[in-house]
């Protein structure tokens, strides 16, 4: 196994292809073997498309930017001919994609091979992957703990060396937080940077697809290919897409790093705090200038998010009516009974809770008090970031206040689960970009080592600067390549 391609990054694998050391078929065979051996213990994958992928690998053109590179895909991104269940019983074995999401067509055109579907919280609603309607996922560092969520499967697969790279989606931290808990790299692009066409919508004003990788270099490579305007998504940005790899020059001398004071006062685990403070000192040694900034409306971000996200979700999930796709409840008395029982049988508890909450905050008599007020606070939160980015080039914080928590620890108390998203959620409300990269390990009370993530936030379209910082950090620390 030691020479297996499964532990390689994209850029390492490309080097091997181009030198003739490996072929795409050999590499893919290694990854499939690693999945068969290691995935049953952690549940990162929901399904695998080995046959089609191997056929694609035989015909791969390794001169293309991602020629012959297998990619794991979160189970809410459409890949033509593959099942797409969003880890929901509603769609399980009842929906096969009839088209490719724009990110998938772009990655295919660059030569990448979609390999399998990764586990997640149902419809991306959750922070632990415990809401998967299909199977339990476990943290590869400690099997009694959650991998984070909602893109838990993608984070596990990358950290566990059962994927070369993966795609996730981030609505309130769903790429960054699982990356932090599993020890992988994850990037949430600026809202609109990457087309959402073919992403099953959770909260349309917050959702973004992003790369989950072993290195920031790989994230830069994938982002360069995934980004850009798309006639099929009118919210996609038309700004030119740079080659993000060119931005990774290691030069962070004089770069202004802001530490949001409000992000260092909330009950942060002492081990996490230590790792992040050490990381900040390290960035200072590399020449960055560290200053304090303020994001005064931080304490209102979670409340704002859970009104806006659930309101949008309640509207988006109205399409799951059991008419055009999905599992339909048998023998309905009438159309209302058809809807009520079809949706009751298909959705899990968290999805039901969020649909009810979202319907409530939008309902007659409550819309102004909850939804419109939350939209106004959203403006205040965005203004906080605009002001902070006048003083600092990037903001740095822990990705999450604690390392991975235990399976079952928060699943009975949804509000406690929501509060764990405190450091990631505001970036989605403001539409800015951000990444998480590993910055240390802490010892858990059961004696296991758990990874800690460093979050680097950037202004709109600041992905190049964010990745320059995380890349410079990775290349001088190597926390991101510690085997789990």
């Amino acid at each position: 196994m030691s020479d297996s391609a499964a532990h390689l990054s994209i850029t390492e694998l490309q080097r091997d292809y181009r030198s003739g050391k490996r072929t795409p078929v050999e590499a893919l065979t290694d990854v499939i073997e690693a999945i068969e051996k290691k995935d049953p213990g952690v549940g990162a994958y929901l399904s695998l498309e080995s046959g089609i992928a191997l056929r694609d690998a035989e015909n791969a053109d390794v001169t293309l930017p991602l020629g012959g590179i297998p990619i794991a895909v979160k189970d809410l991104i459409n890949v033509k001919g593959q099942d797409c269940s969003c880890a929901s019983k509603f769609l399980q074995s009842a929906y096969t994609s009839t088209y490719d999401a724009t990110v998938i067509s772009r990655l295919r055109k660059a030569g990448a091979i979609p390999l399998g579907r990764t586990n997640m919280d149902e419809f991306a609603m959750g922070s632990s992957t415990e809401n998967s309607g299909i199977k339990l996922a476990r943290n590869p560092w400690d099997a009694d703990r959650i991998p984070g969520g909602s893109s838990g499967g993608s984070a596990i697969a990358v950290a566990n060396d059962t994927a070369i790279a993966a795609l996730g989606s981030d609505t309130g931290g769903s790429i960054r937080q699982p990356a932090s808990f599993c020890g992988s790299v994850g990037l949430k692009p600026t809202y609109g940077r990457v087309s959402r066409f073919g992403l099953v919508a959770f909260a349309s004003s917050l959702d973004q697809i992003g790369p989950m990788t072993k290195t920031s270099e790989d994230a830069a490579l994938l982002l360069s290919i995934m980004s850009g305007s798309d006639p099929l998504d009118s919210t996609s940005l038309s700004d030119a897409v740079p080659d993000y790899l060119n931005e990774l020059n290691g030069e962070i001398k004089g770069l202004r790093i802001g530490l949001p004071v409000e992000y260092f006062t909330h009950g942060i685990d002492p081990g996490v705090r230590q790792c992040v403070e050490d990381a900040v000192s390290h960035l200072e040694k590399l020449g960055a200038e560290v200053i304090e900034v303020s994001l005064p409306h931080t304490e209102y971000a979670i409340a704002t998010y859970y009104i806006i996200a659930t309101a949008e979700a309640s509207a988006n999930l109205a399409r799951f009516d059991g008419v055009r796709y999905g599992n339909r409840a048998p023998d309905p008395n009438d159309i209302i009974d058809h809807y009520r029982r079809t949706r009751a049988a298909g959705f899990g508890d968290e999805v039901k809770r969020r649909i009810i909450l979202g319907t409530y905050v939008l309902s007659s008599g409550y819309n102004d008090a909850y939804y419109v007020r939350a939209q106004k606070v959203r403006t205040l939160i965005r203004q906080d970031f605009t002001a902070a980015f006048e003083q600092a080039d990037v903001l740095v914080s822990p990705t999450a206040p604690t390392p991975a928590f235990k399976i079952g620890e928060k699943s009975g108390d949804p509000l406690q689960m929501y509060l764990a998203d405190i450091f990631t959620i505001a970036a989605n409300l403001a539409g800015i970009c951000g990444a998480s990269t590993p910055c240390g390990l802490v010892e858990s009370d059961s004696g296991t080592q758990l990874p800690v993530g460093l979050q680097v936030l950037g202004p709109p379209l600041g992905e190049g600067t964010v990745l320059k910082v995380t890349d410079a950090f990775e290349k001088t620390t190597n926390w991101h390549r510690r085997p789990c």
């Binding site: 004003s205 039901k352 009810i356 106004k376």
Partner: protein, 96 residues
């Protein structure tokens, strides 16, 4: 903001979700907790603040209006739970 408790049965009906009595009891308690938490937004003065629906300015995106192929009947019907020739079969919507 309203202080009254959420009527989960009524809202679930609006959202076309059938709930068991146990689910109504559980969700009522959990959603009251969550609504109690989100009511902290009342503390803020938002009098002259514009509501924000999108993180980036959203504007109409125009394109040339020309005909192109759509996905086609078979593809559209490929995932239908029930079909009748070239149509989705649905539960009766009007009284007979």
């Amino acid at each position: 903001m309203a202080e009254e408790k959420i009527d989960v049965n009524y809202v679930a009906h609006l959202a076309r979700l059938e709930l068991s009595a146990d689910e109504v009891a559980l969700f009522s308690r959990q959603l009251d907790d969550i609504l109690g938490y989100v009511r902290q937004l009342e503390q803020l003065d938002v009098e002259n603040i514009e509501p924000m629906a999108h993180a980036t300015p959203v504007y109409d995106v125009m394109r040339e209006d020309h005909a192109r192929l759509s996905s086609g009947t078979e593809s559209a019907l490929a995932n239908a739970p029930e079909r009748n020739s070239d149509q989705f079969r649905v539960t009766r919507v009007v009284d007979s």
